[in-house]
Amino acid sequence: MNNPFLPYTGTLVEIRDLAEGIKLLRVHLEDEAGRAAFSDYKPGQFAFVSAFGVGEVPFGLAGTPSRSPELEFAVARVGTVTSALHGLEEGAPVGVRGPMGNWFPMDDFRGRNLVVIGGGIGFAPLRPVIQYVLDHRADYGHLTILAAARAPNLLVFREEYEEWAAAPDAEFHVTVDVGDETWTGNVGLVTELQAKVSPSPENAIAITCGPPIMIKFVTQLLQKQGFAPEQIYTTLEMKMKCGLGKCGRCNVGERYVCIDGPVFSHAQILRFIDTF
């Protein structure tokens, strides 16, 4: 009998700083079965990564299979497991379970303009969306990217901003709540930037991820800007233990983030929005 609690074994092939307290982990899967399972994962899906001896934690898959044969995870150091992961050296064994959850319906988004709004580490699960759109550029309309963080040293994937800004039919904006001496860009909350950019809801889909409080305010503003609940997608993160819809922890109302999500349209979770 297949036991979904048993992780695939993998090797940490790269670990590097992505931002203050955030590292990028690249994992090569050793099992054939693991590689097969992850051969075609989709933007928005996630996986559990084990630090053996401590525990395991879910992370959004931060890449796409077409761009990287290895799995990429952006790991913020917030607890014991993430601290242990940060402490690993290249070559260390790690465990991976997944891919899990649903994904952004990229097929349904075809022909639409996309507005991607991400805050802090919450930008990581949106990166595959951007990569996917850029790799299938003709299939999608205008691409607006808004990145935000509390401070410049908390912005992730900064080295890719140039590619995104230079992409055809795309615009890229970034803001930080508080700047530093090196920062010359926008300063202010993401919603201020969002108000300034004022994305059009016309034939558009908005996708947002970040801290719960940010998602709430961005979603409110999007609706003021004319986006219907069906036009707004978020990817939620909740504490979870199994990723299989069994441990009972990650519900938003009747939906489980792990198996019914992590991607939801705002319309799906409207009733229970205050409970995540």
């Binding site: 009998m1 609690f5 525990g55 064994p93 909740m238 819809g245 922890r249």
Partner: protein, 339 residues
């Protein structure tokens, strides 16, 4: 299948027989309480059992279990599954507890099936004890679709008969298990009659949904202690935590019970808590049982009406009262809406 009458002595002899090849779990009296526990000898069985303090779930889903052992070296790890599923017999299981397994099966045997639950479930025989009288004042199984003489998930059902029992096997496994028992055939089949239970409204999902934001939940939360009595002794509360334990080259991944009524449960590493009050956490427990679970599993409730949470709550948070409140408040809202 044919029924047979077992005197108390014959029953105990049969239990002794089962003990030879099985782990036997039965109610054991300890002071003022009765616990379902592994027995060593037949005389330990509490034949007068009403409703044991703990539920039967721990014999399928233990409070703590090893998911797998991890042996790790510098460059490689090896994971090994523990042995699970030693044959066991659960004795004198009340219909509500046996019925609770149906909800738990929906969860644990649903895709992807839980290896541990599944192995134990396969290797467990259930000898039920029908309720010919109402065992406790808190019982409300009929409200949630159960029956005091229901035989769901049982391999054998027992009916109290004087100091002994009338036994009837319901499955092939039950028949095999019952074979070594002595006892006498009944001249006339015993037809059980269900005792009368108090009934309460069982609000529909729509009714529950209507009062999600009612202040009632926060008021209940005011007196809730935020402990886990109601969940840990509940036969259908199943939430769990997973974490590794051990040091050095040998560790194990553990699964342990956890409960949404505790503050510790939902708070995230960032400090964000999606259910920041006792009221919000308590509400989650009841909505899980009467809305979220049936939403996902084809209407199956996550409650078998055993009444443990009602009896054991130190501050009288009483599910039967809550069912009434939900029905009344929901009705009021609907009427207010229609003007």
């Amino acid at each position: 299948m044919p029924q047979r009458r077992l005197s108390k002595e014959e029953f105990l002899a049969w239990v002794g027989h089962m003990l030879r090849e099985n782990r036997v779990i039965a109610p054991i009296r300890s002071g003022e309480r009765t616990f379902l526990q592994e027995i060593g000898v037949p005389s330990e069985v509490d034949l007068e059992v009403g409703r044991p303090t703990n539920s039967l779930k721990e014999f399928f889903f233990p409070a703590t279990e090893t998911l797998f052992h991890i042996r790790r070296g510098k460059k490689a790890v090896r994971m090994e599954l523990p042995e699970v599923g030693r044959p066991q017999v659960l004795l004198l299981v009340r219909p509500c507890d046996a019925a609770a397994l149906t909800s738990m099966d929906a969860l644990f045997l649903g895709e992807p099936a839980d290896f541990y639950w599944s192995e134990r479930r396969k290797n467990t025989a259930i000898v039920g004890l029908a309720c010919l009288t109402v065992p406790t004042p808190e019982c409300f199984c009929t409200t949630v679709g159960g029956s005091p003489i229901g035989t769901e998930n049982m391999d054998i059902v027992l009916y109290r008969d004087g100091a002994g029992y009338i036994a009837e096997s319901l499955t092939e496994r039950g028949e095999t298990l019952l074979t070594p028992a002595s006892g006498s055939a009944l001249e006339e089949a015993f037809v059980p009659r269900a005792p009368e239970l108090p009934t309460f409204p069982c609000p529909s999902m729509e009714e529950w949904l209507r009062i999600f934001n009612d202040d009632y939940w926060m008021r209940l939360g005011e007196r809730c202690l935020g402990c886990k009595i109601c969940t840990y002794n509940c036969p259908t509360c199943y939430c769990f935590d997973i974490r590794d334990r051990g040091i050095g080259g040998y560790v194990e991944r553990l699964r342990a019970w956890d409960a949404c009524t505790s503050k510790h449960y939902s708070i995230e590493a960032s400090g964000h808590d999606p259910r920041p009050t006792r009221g919000a956490r308590l509400r989650n427990r009841f909505y899980h049982k009467y809305y979220y679970f049936p939403w996902r599993y084809n209407g199956t409730l996550l409650c078998s009406g055993c009444g443990r949470c009602v009896a054991q709550c130190p501050v009288n948070i009483d599910l039967t009262e809550i069912l009434e409140e939900v029905a009344v408040r929901s009705q009021e809202r609907e009427e207010a809406k229609q003007g």
